[in-house]
Each structure stands twice: as C-alpha cells, then as structure tokens.
Amino acid sequence: MTLGLTPADRIVRHKFVDRAYHWVMAVSVLILLVTAFLPILGIKFEWVGIHWVTGLVLSIIVLIHIIRASFWQDFWSMMIDSGDLKAPFGKPGKYSLAQKLYHLAIAALVLSTIASGLLMWRKVDTPFWQRDPYWLSTESWGLVYAIHGLAAMALVTMVIIHVYFALRPDEWHLTRSMLRGWMTRKEYQDHHDPRRWSAKDEA
C-alpha cells in the first residue's frame, strides 16, 4: 500500500539521476544484446551502426556512473563488508550480499564488453575514422572477440535473472524504488538494518 503516504513516510532509495542511469543502461544493454544476437540467430538486418552507437552510449553512462559512485554516492554501500560475511542472510544495509555479488558480476561483464567493444570499434567505419582491421594481430583480435562474445552471452543469463527478481512480488518494493525513487518506512524497517543504512526521509 503506497496510497496516502506523506513524504515523511517515504525513504529515499534512489535519486532521479541514479534511476535514469539504471534505465538508460537497461535499454542500452537490451538493444546491444538484440542487435548482437538476432543476426546470429538468423534474423538479418543492418545491426552494426545501432550496435556501436548504443555501445558508445553505454560506455559514456558507465563512465559517468563510476565517477558519480566514487565521489558523490556512498561507494562502500555496494562493497561486500564484514557484516555481509558474518550474517549473509541477515538484514542488510542498503544492499544485500546477493545484490552486491550481482553488481560485481554485472560490473565485470559490462566492463569486459565495453573494453573489448571499444577495441573492436577500430574495425568499424565511423565519422571519426576509417576501419583498420590490421590494428591488432589476428591472435589478439581473436582474444578480443572471444572476451566480447563470452561476456555478452553471460549477460543474457544475468539479464534473465535480474528481470525475474524485479518481477517477484517479494521484491516489488525494490522495483518500485527504482521506478519512483522511494520505499515506505515500513519496507525500510522490514527489510533493512538502520545501523547499516541510515536512510533519509523524502520530506
């Protein structure tokens, strides 16, 4: 129940800029996966242009996120700490151990696809340069393509798991907070340890 709540009953979980980042990233990753894998599955279309432009968007927003998380957000709220290890299923701070592990895995996969994708960009004609397929040796290109492909396929697994948790009724308070930014005070008290996450009212 969220109707009739005053701002004082709402706990801010995600600011607008962080929600915007999440959803731009989500759309970017979905576009990248669709443009990468539909042609492999036999649905042919001009995918390269959409793919590299979307990859560039993802690279820029991830860079902004890293800077923002490092200097303007509570960086350590997403890091695994001793409290997570002592009581992995106890009441967490802002994020549970499972969410931190998921974030770590997504970060590794997305950064792998971005790093390899930026190198592969050299093999595509863009407004900035002409393609140069000999920029790396054949062996090095093979490694770059292998990293990009394996990380992208692993992202398919991770996206399926993420959507599942977002749709589970017992996780709706988290999904709502990623849409509207807040959770109720009761949800905060039920699901979080105030000593580990001292949240602020929306008021």
Partner: protein, 52 residues
C-alpha cells in the same frame, strides 16, 4: 562443446582463436531459466514468504 571458435591459419600451423562459440547462446539462456525455476521452487517450498 568448445567455448571458443577457431579457424585454420592460411599459413599452416595450429588453429587460431577467432572468437567465442555462439552455439553456446542457448545454454547461457537456459542457465538463466534453470536458475529462475530453481529459485522459484526453493522459495515456494523451502522458504515461503511469511506474512508481514
């Protein structure tokens, strides 16, 4: 099934790595689906949500 794709070098010698094996894509998707089903069964049977 290999994780990688290889091609024969035009200069002979050993095969060269050319990328990931995209034949594994259904298996990665299946891994996600298996996790979802296993977790849903676990939550339904072993750890049902308590009313709050």
């Amino acid at each position: 099934m290999s994780l990688f794709r290889y091609a024969s070098s035009i200069y002979g010698g050993s095969d060269m790595l050319i990328g990931a094996n995209y034949g594994l894509l259904p298996w990665f998707a299946l891994a996600g689906v298996v996790f979802v089903i296993a977790h849903a069964i676990f939550k339904a049977v072993a750890a049902p949500s308590r009313p709050r």
